[in-house]
Amino acid sequence: MNGTSRPGFQQMILTLHDYWSRQGCLILQPYDMRMGAGTFHTATTLRALGPEPWNAAFVQPCRRPTDGRYGENPNRLQHYYQYQVILKPSPPDLQELYLKSLELIGIDPLKHDIRFVEDDWESPTLGAWGLGWEVWCDGMEVTQFTYFQQMGGFDCKPVAGELTYGLERLAMYIQNVDSVYDLDFDGRGTTYGHVFLENERQMSAWNFEVADTDALFDLFNKAEAECRNALDANLPIPAYEQAVEASHIFNLLQARGVISVQERASYMGRVRDLARGSCEAYMARESDRWARDFPEWAA
């Protein structure tokens, strides 16, 4: 209960960085755009394509406007952190590597009940799916563990393993606090609430009540157009950024409650087309080089 005697939120991140760095991962920084999940980071989506080995770990702030609760719900936030690890090809001991990381941040698997519970991941927006589990710790989902099978509509060759840790949940568990705002951020008593509570209040109000919906619709259309503009110039990475932007604008429109059920599917389809188009262009641009360096991949 006494937060100051335990490692804080930031120590947990540093421990994970140190651990995955030692496992051969690049330690990247968050993508500098608003996005709904770490999976949107190009280090995950675009790098999951193609044959080149790729091992990376990073923290990604996630924005889920509809999950905002004005700072009043102890578990729900419209802005929170995911810790992402992507290992391509998936190593044979990925489960063991992951469990070791849990131990390092303070979860003893002989005292706590760790379970791999079926949960297949799918992102229609990204044209992606994979098989895996949600990892439970004493009944709480703490990580999404996925073997990517397809991304952007393309088979993953080879398959990448993706770990997504829910950092706040894990920290709440380890620090034994009931509200996310009571988390010890730095191990010296500065709370998560001190850092983010006001942010949650203001952002919730803006997401739900204030954001100018006409401007948002306009931004969506502009992102869509810009994505196509970049694709026309065969620039898949900037195109993909616009797809990510459109996706977030769509989430904001949802939070403002101005997209009807019927329209919803159509907007999601538009975002999916942008994301897929970007992945396709990325594949097209790189595939000659990949085929040359990895003859087996092209086969």
Partner: protein, 734 residues
Amino acid sequence: MTDFLLELRCEEIPARMQAGARKDLGKLFGKEMQAAGVPVGAVMVWSTPRRLALIARDLPESTESVREETKGPRTSAPPQALEGFLRKTGLTQDQLEDRDGVYFAVVEKPGRPVRDVLAEAIPAIVRAFPWPKSMRWGDASLSTESLRWVRPLSGIVAIFGEDLVECTVGEIESGYATLGHRFHHEGPITIGGADDYQGKLRACHVIVDHAEREAMIREGATRAAAEVGLELVPDEGLVIENAGLTEWPVPLLGRFDVEFLEVPPEVIQLTARTNQKYFVCEKDGKLANAFVCTANIGAPDGGEAIVAGNRKVLAARLSDARFFWEQDRKKALDQHAEGLKRITFHEKLGTVADKVERVAKLARWLAEEGIVQGANPGLAEQAARLAKADLVTEMVGEFPELQGLMGGYYARAEGLPDEVAGAIRDHYKPVGQGDDVPTAPVTVAVSLADKLDTLVSFFVIKERPTGSRDPFALRRAALGIIEIILRSGLRLELDYATYRAGQMLKQQMEGVLPAEQHYDWIRENLPAELFLAVPEFFVDRLKVQQREAGVRHDLIDAVFKLEERKDEIVGNLARVHALQNFVGTEDGTNLLAAYKRAANILKKENWEGHEAEVARTGEEDPLALVDDPDLAPIIAAKMAERKAPGLSYTPDAAEEALIEALDAAEPKAAAAIETEDFETAMAALASLRAPIDRFFEEVTVNAEDQSKRAARLGLLARFRAAVHKVADFSHIEG
């Protein structure tokens, strides 16, 4: 005789797939052994989340040698035939045997060591394994052709007797070593063979037999509840699921805050069950503030930390549920119902609010017409207007399975009448076979109206079920209607009900479409065919539904295809039942035979007689014939004519007896049918049996005297018509 052990170890197999996987492993193994000619004794298949294991007892060391003979062409056949045969068998001409001018290829296949057979069978089994969903992984997945398994396959143990069955699948080589419990045992375990497998794993905290784990969970959870004076709510699905998630199951009881019990118990049970896989407990038949989770480890603190963690997770879930429960009740159901205007029911059928409008009117109509007796029309309409409102509540958004149920709770909470709350709660019922069928009148009206609207509306827009495609579950809707009708004995005329439901849709379209398009809409969407198609669909469903009760489908046709009948289910089905009893008797069997004989003669003689006098186009409304006041005297005259054709000759005794029998039976049957006393109607038919048999025995129909012939054919036609008053025997098989 030698035993064989196979273990396929992989990362966690989804619990729901394990039972199927065990079956498939047994099946594939049996198939491989049979193909190789290996007789197999007892086979056991076990599963845990991390392994599939098979033990086959009493295999031989090697297979028997086999002599295979193949018959070839005649020795006199052209050389091409011989060449082809040699190519097929891979032999030369001097290796063939000549038996009486026919070539035979005889191949002696020596016996093979079973260990070799197994070494080939294992990769074949792994590659052919029919997982519902499978994946690729690791370095090899650079190619899409790489090995697929439900999750990465990580080890194979294959031991025949004490010998390793050497094989390689993908990048995995078979061996003696496996792993124990993920956390309770470190490092590999060496297995000696089939006999020590289960024991060695048990020593390493793995209960490999799923049935044993299931028993541990079932009994352990029951005991944990009993120890604190509670009763576990049994849930076999949860037992199996938890056994599929653990290798070392340890049921643990925890408590949750008693204040959460203000949330409806179904909500608590559902969130505990589906989200957390917990059992719930009762005290004196009421939900208690306790849960049982199943851990996969024996923790040194007796599971205290595990229970504390699980308790917290459940508390978070229950807080969410309580939040929804409180939020939703801040608005009345009619306010929630406003939100239905935003939900599309179907693009051609408008919003859910539009559907609700139609259902409300239909429900009122069903009550007002007295079709559903005892239902207050006002309450039926009110309940229908609120029945779908919970679809837009937070709780049902989170737990869609609680639709209806939550509406019922919210209705009660805002003080609506019990009949209304009950109707909202139960109007989806019956959902499947074996589900409760509502009987409360208001509920019946709403449930019937809802399903009728769904069925007719989708028929109108031509979204009718075909083959296995029934995306809008119309068969289930029809079946639900049939069950409700039968349970309460409702007299619902199907064509009329279809017409009413169609009218509701028509009225809505009036509001949406300009006048000229509205006319086109009616012509296109409400054709006469619709009012035949819907009742026919019901009859088809009725046949399926009644099959289980042993009711013959041909007898259903014999009644439901009668032209003179009411287009409803209850009375007609009673007639079918009476008919089925009757055709099972000796009288029935004989009468059927006589009927067929009469019908055949009439057909052969092309006799149309009186029955042909009213032109039929197949288009007319059968009810119009009966109800049309202008036609009534004509029909009455025809009937009279048929009854007393006035013979120009003295009838034979048998002929006269039949006439008398018909004179007696016809009014008796007609009166009995009028009062739905079908037993009496059948008895009236039975009274014809002896006279018709005698008639066939003694009277020549095809008499030379044309007037006799015509009269006798007329008499047979009259007999047939009399039978048809009760049932159309031409549909009866046998």
